[in-house]
């Protein structure tokens, strides 16, 4: 009787312990579509021409938000993207990064092209009217706020550091903080890239 009493709880513990890695792996491999956050948009791209997100159909896309006067988070985010691209190797052929400005006043299409070009040809800078930008940040549930901080840099823009991984159909699959470990981003991007028909 005593032995039986110990067996079942022990068995349960073993099952749970065995399940832990299974749960981890299945959630990493299972990137559900995040409904309601994201979506198509059209902004102003390189050369001042309209750029629609739907133009990236068939590619896996990372959508980032920032501004060129930002010395810390924004270049760090794009640097992370550069490292991600390096890790993807050949598969990176179908990977793109979008950098949507939160400072359309100062970040014109030309400024953005020069800025993102530094990181790689696979990044596209996007601008637009403040209304258009706000529409996009609204759909992506990210936030930004201009702040007159008294800095000699002029106004600064406070913003969230969310970065969005979209599949080849433009659906949001993962939302990261900009400093998420590179490994996770690489793993997720590879999964979505493998999914491209």
């Amino acid at each position: 009787m005593k032995r039986k009493g110990l067996f079942f709880p022990l068995f349960l513990v073993l099952v749970i312990l065995a399940g832990v890695p299974i749960i981890y792996y299945s959630s990493a491999r299972d990137l559900p579509v995040i409904d309601g956050i994201g979506g198509d948009f059209t902004l102003t791209g390189p050369g001042g021409r309209p750029f629609a997100l739907s133009e990236t159909r068939g590619k896996v896309v990372m959508v980032t938000f920032g501004y060129t006067h930002c010395p810390d988070v924004c270049p760090a985010t794009l640097l992370q993207m550069k490292r991600l691209m390096a890790r993807l190797g050949e598969a990176g052929e179908n990977f793109r990064v979008l950098f949507v400005t939160l400072d359309p006043e100062r970040d014109t299409a030309e400024v953005l092209t020069n800025y993102v070009g530094f990181f790689g040809p696979w990044v596209t800078g996007l601008t637009g009217s403040l209304d258009q930008i706000q529409d996009v940040t609204g759909s992506y549930r990210t936030f930004f706020k201009k702040s007159e901080s008294g800095s000699k840099a002029g106004y600064l823009v406070a913003h969230s550091d969310f970065v969005y991984l979209l599949d080849h159909l433009g659906r949001t699959r993962v939302i990261y903080h900009y400093n998420e470990p590179l490994e996770k981003m690489v793993e997720d991007a590879k999964l979505l890239l493998a999914d491209i028909p």
Partner: protein
């Protein structure tokens, strides 16, 4: 019996408290002392304030700002503070911190970076940093940049930072 255990736990935590690593950015991690002192980066032992691994972020040509980062250690018994930074690379250099404001991160200029005695203070991405404004030229990877640091008590300390893409490998990477 229970009371005695609680009392022992309370006294124990009071005694241990100061020795536990602090979590907020810009405060000390005493258990990492050894690793930091053996840093492979540039380590300037100038008087009481040690300056380690100063680096400047490479930014795109045309980018108006960059940032300088470093680790400071106040080896003295008296509190000090970093008050200002000057560099030929930028017209203005300001001390900034990063503050979380709801779901947003906000950079805010600060008057000084406090340096408690015996502690490490990190100026690192996402935390305190030196914002370099109106760059004389785009900093290129590998370039050496002179930084003149002014402390409240320790006076002026000149160090040479290296321009890198991101946090240098020998430095503090979380």
């Amino acid at each position: 019996m229970k009371f005695r255990i609680l009392l022992a736990a309370a006294i124990g935590s009071l005694l241990l408290g100061p020795w536990l690593p602090a979590d907020e950015k810009g405060t000390a991690h005493p258990h990492r002392t050894g690793a930091m002192d053996k840093s492979r980066g540039m380590h300037h032992e100038m008087g009481v304030i040690h300056v380690m691994n100063p680096w400047v972020r490479a930014v795109p040509p045309g980018a108006p700002s960059s940032a300088a980062y470093l680790v400071l250690r106040n080896t003295g018994a008296k509190a000090d503070a970093l008050l200002a930074v000057k560099t030929p690379l930028a017209k203005h250099a300001e001390l900034h911190t990063m503050v979380k404001s709801g779901a947003m991160m906000e950079m805010r200029p600060v008057e000084s970076v406090p340096l408690p005695p015996g502690q490490y203070v990190k100026l690192e991405p996402g935390g305190y940093h030196v914002m370099l404004i109106e760059l004389a030229h785009p900093p290129k990877v590998g370039e050496k940049v002179a930084l003149l640091l002014r402390f409240r008590h320790a006076g002026e300390v000149r160090v040479e930072a290296v321009v890198t893409e991101g946090a240098p490998m020998g430095g503090m990477k979380h």
